[in-house]
Amino acid sequence: MLFNSYVYIFAFLPAAFAGYFLLAFRYEKGAKLWLVLASLFFYSYWNIRYLPLILVSLGVNFILGRKIGEFTGKDKEKARLFLIAGLLFNIGLLGYYKYADFFLSNINYLLRSNLPLLHIALPLAISFFTFQQIAYIVDAYRGEAREYDLLNYALFITFFPQLIAGPIVHHKEMMPQFRNERSRYINYENMAKGLFIFCIGLFKKVMVADTFAYWANWGFDGISHLTFFEAWITSLAYTFQLYFDFSGYTDMAIGAALFFNIKLPVNFNSPYKSLDIQEFWRRWHMTLSRFLRDYIYIPLGGNRRGEVITYRNLMITFLIGGLWHGAGWNFVFWGFLHGAALIIHRLWRKTGIKMPSFLAWLITFNFVNAGWVFFRAQTFDDALKVLKGMAGLNGVLLPANLEGKLPLLDKLSYPYGSFTLQNTLEASIYITLALLAVLLLPNSVEMKDRLQPKLAYALLAGFLAFVSILHLTNVTQFLYFNF
């Protein structure tokens, strides 16, 4: 089920909320069971085929987590064995469902063999719930997480606001909230803040991201030859589409969770304001960065084993991060670019030279923007098509409808031509507005925290929700659902 759908907004969410609080103050277990069942219904609504998969994954990880917990502190070796079994199970599951065809096609290419591809449809949210459970069993091994109750564990994994696309949460930050006595009663401050950020998220997704999708999809998939301005509009449209889409989704997740008095971690903190690439990764998809840092980078040795090993660790972490986003070399390459950028950033820092803030921002933003081209493009050729256009290799034409309106350029006989990408003036205005918004406005979490129960905020939230709901006619999928 999508957050930006009528059925979610008008039926599922109110029903899940009402059922939970009707049960919660008397029957804690009943309320949790209700929430788990509601979450499984939410998961299966799109395609029930993968319900058994999430149940098996959940069951196996619960058992392994218990076993690890039992042996931690008593028999380290056995705990370690169960941990390895758990890691193999989770990586194997993800490998089979997400990466099998990628590896087979690469083997076929390298060995010139003809192994048949499996054509497995990617189960919804598998990357998210698998990473969350890897974190859980590792935390159990470290003695930081214990869960002996299947219902609690099921709730931790399936809680619908964060099930499909994160944030990737830790057991230790979720379960105390569910256990808290006060969570079982309606809290109107949380409800108000939840509603407010939900409205902002809905608007970001429906009105902003889906508007940019028009130019991004057209430029990436519909045009074979992009001139300079068309290519920049295409790449920037996607840069803003991705941010407003994913952060909008997260806002809605945070809002829905707040209705149940659950505070999900912040996942986006104005990432496009970043002045360097390290800061970007502290602000973008923060719960994934946290996972990569705590469960890959630090176990690899982090920055404790000298400069070269640190660079190696950074690169490995980001290659895995790239691959997590999708089974394709373009994602690996995107990860490589970010790994390389982080290494360069560390080297630069060692020089002690301070770059002017604007220049630092400009370089960071443009690097991220160019990186997203590989992230979005279906093939390397598609990515190169956009990058070539951005570099001006396909000409720097201005749209023909501006001819005669720019006297200075006319005097210079500046070339005009017809654009394949349409409504480019509109796109340029939206891109400018989006850029100003991400740079100058507080982000939605900050806005939520500043909420005052005043009429002006009610009018703002009401307007955002009203406009967005009226534009839900064409229900679209969230970009991150495929990851």
């Binding site: 009528y6 059925v7 108000a192 009429l455 905020y457 009610a458 939230a461 009226l470 839900l472 006619t473």
Partner: protein, 342 residues
């Protein structure tokens, strides 16, 4: 204001604004999902006839004896002109024979049994494999799935797109904004009368479209098997099949493009499959008088009434004698020979 009042005020604000829009959309009902019929919703723009007519099948009582199928030409036939029969006009813009089966099956399912009659208006342009249609046609399954999807008609009430359609329909009805063609709430389609000049321009334009797009790289495609399948799936239904009357400029274009042999092959195949075909599309007093036409291919509803009379054998005064001939296996050679001599 407390957080509690803020929460409920915001919710109320959103819900009331949405209900106002939804109420207006329900009142005008541009998707044909509900029942209201009044002076302010008597102009219904056909923005997507496949969706609208499928919605109508889904959301209204469906006690019809007969189904009428065909392209936009057929949509101008008033279903109430088939006196004695309750006909549902399921004709839609650019309808292709390969779509008939699914729409018939869907309507049959809603009716609960086979139809007594299925009336089909055939267009020659559909036989070109390389025809270039103005927009890609979505499969019937898309519209059927859409109409059947959970809460579809209520979702559409809370939609800005629906509001825009409602507003357009409302303004056209309440303020009599001029509209070229529209449906009323009885699903009768109306067509604006054109001036001589307007018609001339439209005919010229239509002939060019047929020449450049619909008859482009003409390659004949036979629909015989498609029609046989329809007959097999509806063994207790009587099929009444007719050729939609094209105006003289279009008939001349067929000849000009050297398509006459295919035109005749098409007629023969249809006669072969259905046993008899009511043929209207040849030079006769209706097709040669351009006053009967909105453009080169779309006839005015009064011509549709004549077609209905001829098909049911209930000819009234005013029906031109030379309009329509029943083609059978026995007479087709003779009729085609006679028409070729004209």
């Amino acid at each position: 204001m407390s957080y509690k009042s803020w929460f409920f005020s915001t919710l109320a604000l959103v819900m009331l604004s949405l209900l106002a829009v939804a109420g207006f959309n329900w009142y005008i009902d541009p998707h044909w999902c509900f029942g209201p019929s009044h002076r302010y919703n008597q102009v219904q723009m056909p923005f997507d006839e496949r969706a609208q007519k499928t919605n109508y099948v889904k959301f209204h009582p469906f006690a019809y004896d007969a189904l009428l199928l065909g392209s936009s030409r057929v949509t101008y036939i008033n279903p109430y002109d088939f006196s004695g029969l309750k006909v549902y006009n399921y004709g839609v813009n650019n309808m292709l024979p390969e779509e008939y089966y699914d729409y018939i099956e869907y309507a049959k399912k809603k009716r609960g049994k086979e139809f007594d009659y299925i009336i089909i208006g055939l267009d020659f342009w559909t036989t070109n494999q390389n025809k270039e249609l103005p927009s890609p046609i979505k499969e019937p399954a898309f519209y059927i799935k859409q109409a059947e999807s959970f809460g579809y008609r209520y979702k559409m009430l809370f939609s800005y797109d629906t509001y825009k359609l409602s507003r357009k329909n409302y303004l056209a009805a309440a303020r009599s904004y001029p509209v070229d063609y529209f449906y009323d709430r009885r699903l009768v389609k109306h067509l604006r009368r054109l001036s001589e000049e307007e018609r001339k321009a439209k005919i010229e334009n239509a002939v060019a479209v047929y020449r450049d797009r619909l008859y482009r790289d003409y390659t004949y495609v036979s629909y015989a098997e498609t029609f046989r399948q329809l007959k097999r799936a509806n063994p207790h239904t009587r099929f009444i099949v007719f050729t939609t009357p094209e105006s003289l400029p279009l008939l001349e274009l067929i000849e000009e493009q050297n398509l006459t042999p295919y035109y005749q092959q098409w007629l023969r195949e249809n006669v072969e499959v259905f046993g008899e075909v009511y043929h209207f599309s040849y030079p006769n007093s209706v097709t040669t008088s351009l006053a009967n036409y909105y453009d080169a291919s779309h006839f005015y509803p009064h011509v549709g009434a004549w077609i209905a009379e001829r098909l049911l054998g209930r000819e009234k005064r005013g029906l031109p004698d030379d309009f329509g001939v029943k083609l059978t296996r026995d007479n087709i050679d003779q009729v085609l020979k006679k028409q070729a001599l004209r």
